[in-house]
Structure formats: C-alpha cells, structure tokens
Symmetry: C2
Subunit: 84 residues, 2 copies
Amino acid sequence: MNYLFKALNDETRRQILELLKEKNMTAGEIADAFNITKPSISHHLDILKRADLVTSEKDGQFITYSINTTILEDVLQWILTLKK
Amino acid sequence: MNYLFKALNDETRRQILELLKEKNMTAGEIADAFNITKPSISHHLDILKRADLVTSEKDGQFITYSINTTILEDVLQWILTLKK
DNA sequence: ATAATATTTAGATATTTGTCTAAATACCTA
DNA sequence: TAGGTATTTAGACAAATATCTAAATATTAT
C-alpha cells in the first residue's frame, strides 16, 4: 500500500500511467514524451514497476512497458472503505 | 490533485483518516493515538487540511477534526479513468 | 490575574526523493 | 568484431519531508 501511494505521488509517474493507458510504449518513447533525461525516466519506471503498476517486457533491444491496472483495485478499496 | 496524493502518501496521515472515519476527534485525541509528538501530528493535520481531506472546528479550547470524503471523489475518478 | 491545558508555530536536523552526468550493459547490424 | 542504439546503474546534489524541542497563542478554571 505504501509503495503504491509512493508511486502515485509524482506528477511525471502519473502522466506515464496515463500514456501507458493509451498504448504500450518503450522506455525511449516514454522518455521522449517528457522534458526529463532518460535515466530519470528509467528511475520512475523502476518505481512504477516495484509498485506493480507497470510491467516490462524485453523486445530485443527495446523494453516495452505496459500498465497494470489490477493493482489499482487496492487503492480503490482503501478509498471506498474510507467513504462508506 | 498533487496535494491530494501528497497528503495520502504517508502512513500516519492515512491512519488519521481511518480514525476520523469512525468519529470526529480533537487534535489531542488524534495525537494520543500515535507515538509521535503533538507538533508533528499538528503538521500532518495541516497537510490533510490543505488537501481538503479534513475540516476543523474550534470547540473552545479544543479543535475538533472531521474527515471530508467528498474530495476523495477526485482520486476515485482519476483511478477509474485509468482502469477503463 | 495566574496557572493549567490544548494546540500551533518556529527553527533545526536527518532522511528521502527527483534530477543530473558519466559509465556500464545489452542487443543489433555491417 | 566494431560501432551504433536502447536502456539501466552508479554516484552526486539540491530540494522536499517527517520528525523533534522550545516557544507562542488561546482558552479555561481557580
């Protein structure tokens, strides 16, 4: 839960998730969408991965990232029980 | 949105919200529930307040805090659009 | 008025975090 | 095998954050 909220607590990471919602992208494509260096994006992707919010798959020279929305169910549940 | 995620990105603050979900509490009562000094709790309450996640009301010498769940709707929506 | 209680504000400090540059690793192609 | 491209790892640094102690503010009660 901690990892999840930590991962979501950054505008860049939230935008990465919004991008990945539209389509899978390679690390380079993701980096190109931001005004941040590739190593920094790589770090953000690592945090998203540790939180299980994205998965990655090696495609030869490229690494393609996909969003994993199932883990968001946990956040949803936490918020919903707070609301009830 | 940033303020919201920031406020939620702390275990103590999330626990405060869980406490306030059960009943309204004074700052002192909230502080007593944690192994953290009162000034630190006061600071957490301030952050929750800025994020509009809690409201406060002066009751003479005491300040009573209440949870405001309506603002959580924003987080819910953000997550739901990510899932759909 | 004075003392006690409740809470916040101010200021300091250690830790975490986001970012960068430089270097390493991995893969592909000629 | 040599060179180019894609990505990550390592190390450094500034900014943000959570915490603390001490002091300030506000209210109540004697």
